[in-house]
């Protein structure tokens, strides 16, 4: 039984017919000029009409997608007068905002560095761990194999990021990679291993070694749930279903906590903290250029907005990562991630003739561009019943190459998801199209995770600089833990000596003034906090990307 | 002969030595024991209240697994071999009750949905019954190291023998272990306490009662001149063996006596590795060495 409509059956036949000949075949990777060309012609980042120069703040003049600029050229959600800053409900050493991988590891590390568990406060919009971090399927990079090392990893990261990365950050990341894996294993994370007890490593787009560690295709789930479990073991204080809506400052110009919004009761409270860590993740739910996204519900760019309100520097927000393979069919799961590891294990992208048209493991930006070109440049896509275009991702090859049972074992999540909608990916290919995946840029940090504003730290996807203009698969999962732990450690150190002055929200008035001075007239408010899908918008949203 | 073997949870935790030696003994007898790939607790913690279908789900589900093994031709017949006395008792009774009551069987089937219907074809047997069925001559023929000079005190406890209709032997005068140990070359010390309750039912609530009952049996064994006590039930083993440390605190003159599972001595007599003596309390090795058996 095919999971695809009748009219696609002929096209599916072509895939099947060409499959035997494609086993073990790969097109060569593109050279530097070809890559540049295809990016310029087809990558969404290079569509200049989809971006504008920011009008206000320290990043004024920098190009960024309209959707991101919209959240920065917007009024704060609260006004200073709305909040009674003398009513401090939480008074702690370290405040962590966001319970994804970065926030959880920051909290765990802060207490290792001497902060009492009840002196760390975690504020989380959703449930602990419900975050992009939990969704990672493919894996995490770390240069621990005998034929690999951190130097080789460094070169991969910096070349993949088009040399725009901050070298110190890259150095910290690649060097601490193996230690992160060690830490995870001590905590009881189960990585895939070979029979001889060594790690089962896979390649990823743009890696020169097999360096991807995985936990079936539930890598993020496995790591995150272990961290949550440990977080609870350590009895660190936390509040779920509460969002930070603004950072609070003191009269010495330091960040000194945050205003919190209790989402059950629509109440505002104040948390004062000597160090504040932003770990709010990315912006997928802004749907840049109308793209569907792989991101979780809470990924609304809040961290970048709050940081900008207190004057933090931003960088690299002009570049956005589109994952080459989001689901294009069935409509219910459009945009959801089909992990890169599928290609690493042998699945090939094919056009409507069943022909392989790109080296499957180009860096993500190049791979995504090639898919878009195939669909809209060469008109070789497959059109879905909702009018969307996509290309095949020939998953049955995985079992052909690696032996029967591989898909079920290594891609349990993918297999399950597609099965629910009647598609058996052992037998039939997936239909895929690029999807909005990752925010490459963000708040600028140094190796101690400090921003330029005293008292404010940042870690994880909310930061910019580590991955330059393009992140390689598996390096985000790594950066979370490297910099999450660093943020925990250095914020704890700071809290030991920092003293706070009087709390203030005056910076919001300053921001309003900047908006007015720049002539921004709008009724937009940010941070966005919750995406808006009510009513017909659910459908419009599906249509918008066609 | 390939037979389904239902170990039960205790065999995988506190009675690993019973489990291990069961495999060793069976192998020597040419029996391949196969565990179902999936099995659950026999259900024993909930005494089989006749009117509660819920309590039948666990045992019947295990019997379904055995029927599945038969269907897949993994085993040679419809018997399932049990070893733990609790499991034996629970599976045996649940099987009989369900087969006897179509109404109950119907309810069980309805509730289970996802599972195939239980056809009632499984025959629950205890390992001792299986061995007896082979014939004592057959057992004797496998002995490579007769248990010469070892004075054995067999202890049955209650669950193997009661209630009468499910017992493996005459509840008042059981002989199966006596016959077995004679075949293995040991000297059997017969005793009136062999089918008396060891107090396991009180093990949790009434520790002193249990300790007292155990002590009486141990003393009886020693007075009868036994070198070693043999059990066929993890609970008896615990009460008579592991509990001796506690008993010694109250009974200063008591010196202790080793207690082992019958399969451990079978494995020894059959010359097999995998006797599991290291898990026994008190340590039976000194006695066995003294008798020249180790």
């Amino acid at each position: 039984m095919s999971g695809y409509p009748e009219y696609m059956q002929g096209l599916l036949k072509l895939v099947e017919e060409t499959r035997p000949d494609r086993v073990g075949k790969a097109l060569r990777a593109m050279n530097a000029e070809e890559k540049e060309q295809i990016l310029r012609d087809w990558h969404p980042d290079y569509k200049m009409d989809q971006k504008r120069k920011l009008k206000i703040g320290s990043s004024a003049g920098e190009l960024m997608p309209h959707e991101v600029a919209d959240t920065l050229e917007a009024h704060p959600v609260i006004k200073p007068g709305d909040i009674d800053l003398s009513n401090v409900v939480y008074d702690v050493d370290v405040l962590v905002i966001g319970a994804g991988g970065a926030g959880l590891s920051a909290s765990l590390t802060a207490i290792e560095h001497g902060v009492a568990p009840d002196n760390v406060l975690m504020i989380q919009k959703l449930r602990l761990g419900d975050a992009n971090s939990k969704m990672s399927q493919g894996g995490i990079q770390a240069a621990d194999a005998p034929d690999d090392n951190p130097t080789i990893h460094y070169l991969d990261v910096i070349g993949g990021g088009h040399y725009a990365n901050k070298p110190d950050l890259v150095e910290a990341m690649v060097k601490e990679g193996p230690d992160v894996i060690k830490w995870h294993e001590e905590l009881g994370v189960t990585y895939d291993k070979l029979e001889d007890g060594t790690m089962q490593l896979a390649p990823g787009g743009g890696t020169s070694r097999k360096r991807m560690h995985s936990c079936k295709d539930y890598t993020g789930l496995e790591i995150t749930r272990v961290l949550v479990d440990e977080f609870i073991n350590k009895e660190i204080s936390y509040v779920e279903f509460t969002s930070a809506v603004e950072l609070v400052m003191d009269d010495k110009g330091q960040v000194a906590g945050a205003v919190l919004w209790d989402m059950d009761h629509d109440d505002y409270t104040v948390a004062r903290a000597k160090s504040t860590i932003l770990a709010t993740g990315g912006f997928g739910r802004l749907h840049i250029q109308g793209f569907e996204t792989t991101n979780h519900y809470g990924a609304t760019n809040d961290g970048v907005v709050m940081a900008y309100h207190v004057g933090a520097n931003l960088r690299d927000l002009d570049s956005t990562q589109f994952h080459p393979t989001g689901a294009a069919y069935p409509a219910q799961i459009v945009g959801q991630l089909c992990t890169e590891k599928l290609r690493a294990r042998g699945a090939q992208p094919l056009n409507n003739d069943g022909v392989l048209f790109v080296y499957p493991l180009e860096t993500r930006d190049v791979e995504a561009s090639a898919l878009i070109r195939e669909c809209y440049g060469r008109e070789k896509g497959i059109v879905t019943p909702t009018g969307m275009r996509g290309v095949w991702l020939d998953t049955p090859l995985i079992d052909v190459i690696n032996g029967e049972g591989t898909i079920e074992r290594e891609f349990a999540a993918m297999f399950r998801t597609f099965n629910k909608f009647g598609i058996d990916i052992r037998e039939e290919p997936m239909l895929v199209y690029p999807t909005l995946h990752y925010q490459n840029g963000g708040v600028e940090i140094n190796v101690q995770c400090e921003t330029n504003v005293p008292g404010l730290y940042a870690a994880g996807e909310v930061c910019g600089g580590i991955h330059g203009k393009n992140r390689l698969m598996g390096n985000s999962q790594l950066d979370l833990y490297v910099f999450g732990r660093r943020a925990g450690r250095f914020s704890a150190e700071r809290a030991k000596t920092a003293t706070l002055g009087d709390l203030t929200l005056d910076h919001l008035d300053v921001y309003e003034k900047m908006l007015a001075d720049a002539g921004v007239v709008t009724d937009r408010k940010a941070p966005t906090l919750l995406p808006e899908y009510r009513g017909k918008r659910t459908l419009e949203h599906q249509l918008k990307m066609l | 002969m390939r037979l389904a073997y239902y170990p039960g949870c205790t065999m995988k935790t506190d009675a690993k030595n019973f489990d291990e030696s069961t495999y060793s003994a069976a192998e020597a007898l040419g029996i391949e024991l196969l565990e179902p790939t999936r099995w659950n607790c026999c259900g024993t913690v909930h005494a089989l209240a006749k009117d509660n279908v819920m309590n039948y789900l666990a045992p019947i589900r295990n019997l379904i697994r055995v029927e599945q093994m038969n269907e897949a031709e993994l085993v040679d017949d419809k018997r399932v071999v049990t070893q733990c006395a609790m499991c034996y008792n629970t599976l045996k009774r649940a099987n009989a009750d369900a087969k006897a009551d179509p109404d109950k069987m119907g309810k069980i089937r309805d509730f289970m949905e996802k599972e195939p219907n239980y056809q009632g074809s499984v025959n629950v047997v205890h390992m001792l019954e299986l061995i007896k069925g082979l014939g004592w001559d057959e057992v004797k023929s496998k002995v490579v190291k007769p248990l010469d000079g070892l004075k054995v005190f067999p202890y049955y406890g209650c669950l193997l023998l009661r209630p009468r209709e499910y017992g493996i032997d005459d509840p008042d005068h059981p002989t199966v272990m006596e016959d077995l140990f004679e075949a293995l070359g040991a000297e059997v010390v017969d005793n009136p306490y062999k089918a008396k309750c060891c107090g396991a039912y009180h093990a949790v609530h009434l520790k002193e009662v249990a300790a007292d009952l155990s002590y009486r049996i141990l003393r009886q064994a020693q007075e009868a001149g036994a070198d070693i006590i043999v059990t066929a039930c993890p609970l008896c083993q615990f009460n008579l063996g592991d509990r001796q440390n506690e008993i010694k605190k109250h009974q200063r003159e008591f010196e202790g006596i080793p207690v082992v599972y019958y399969t451990q001595l079978m494995a020894l007599a059959f010359g097999k590795e995998g006797t599991g003596f290291e898990q026994n309390i008190p340590d039976p090795v000194p006695v066995l060495e003294e008798k020249g058996l180790l």
């Binding site: 449930r127 939990k134 969704m135 070169l155 070349g159 894996i181 001590e186 019943p385 909702t386 | 935790t13």
Partner: protein, 228 residues
């Protein structure tokens, strides 16, 4: 073709009736009906278990469990969200535990109440053999419990349905951490590399790369050896 013509079905969300397009998931159908999630939504991709829901379809006695982001609506569905499963997660120090049955029984003694009724398995939207992993933990089969529970996303539906009031997902989490830490253990080559990094073995090479200009880097990058 296209949404505009999609067929409509009737669903009842917490008792309120709505007409929604037939091809939406429960989550999108609720949004279509005007709901903005605060609780009960997470990754929206089947990885986090935040959107647990239960439903019955008109004419059927069966109470089904599902993830709202993965389940397509059916005509006559009665839906309740179960965004929270009331349960205590026991705290422990992993480094002090033993990977055996007693550990499970000490922290979650209620597992010995398991009736093997399999209700948990039937409720699980991940099609996990929940009963089997509870049973495996009960007999100290740490590896089995870890393997069988691996795909658990902690939606809580099994715990809500269990007549013995067991919280299977907590048991599974304990099993997996025990299994990784004690049964599988650390990885030699990872430990070795950590030692090398700490000894500064790569510092000079990385320093050199950090000091290189873009051109040199680009050259090194493009000519780097690829061993996959």
């Amino acid at each position: 073709m296209g949404e505009n013509e999609s067929e409509m079905v009737t669903i009842h969300v917490m008792g309120k009736k709505h007409e929604v397009p037939a091809d939406l998931t429960i989550m999108k159908a609720m949004e279509y009906a005007g709901h903005q999630f605060r609780r009960g939504a997470g990754c929206r991709g089947g990885y986090c278990g935040a959107c647990a829901a239960m439903y019955r379809v008109k004419g059927s006695y069966k109470l089904e469990g599902a993830l709202a982001c993965q389940k397509i609506v059916e005509d006559g569905m009665y839906i309740a969200q179960i965004p929270f499963s009331p349960a205590e997660k026991i705290t422990y120090d992993l480094s002090e535990l033993k990977p055996d049955a007693n550990t499970f029984l000490e922290y979650y003694p209620e597992i010995s109440r398991c009736l093997s009724c399999n209700t948990c398995t039937k409720a699980c939207p991940q099609d996990i053999e929940v009963m089997d992993y509870v049973q495996a933990s009960l007999r100290g089969d740490v590896e089995g419990a870890a393997r069988l529970s691996f795909d658990c996303i902690g939606c809580g539906l099994c715990a809500v349905r269990c007549p013995a009031e067991i919280v299977p997902y907590n048991v599974g989490q304990l099993a997996r951490r025990l299994n990784s830490r004690y049964v599988i253990g650390p990885t030699e080559h990872v430990l070795k590399r950590v030692g090398e990094v700490e000894a500064g073995e790569f510092d000079a090479d990385i320093d050199e790369l950090k000091r290189s200009d873009r051109k040199t880097l680009q050259k090194r990058y493009e000519s780097r050896e690829v061993k996959l």
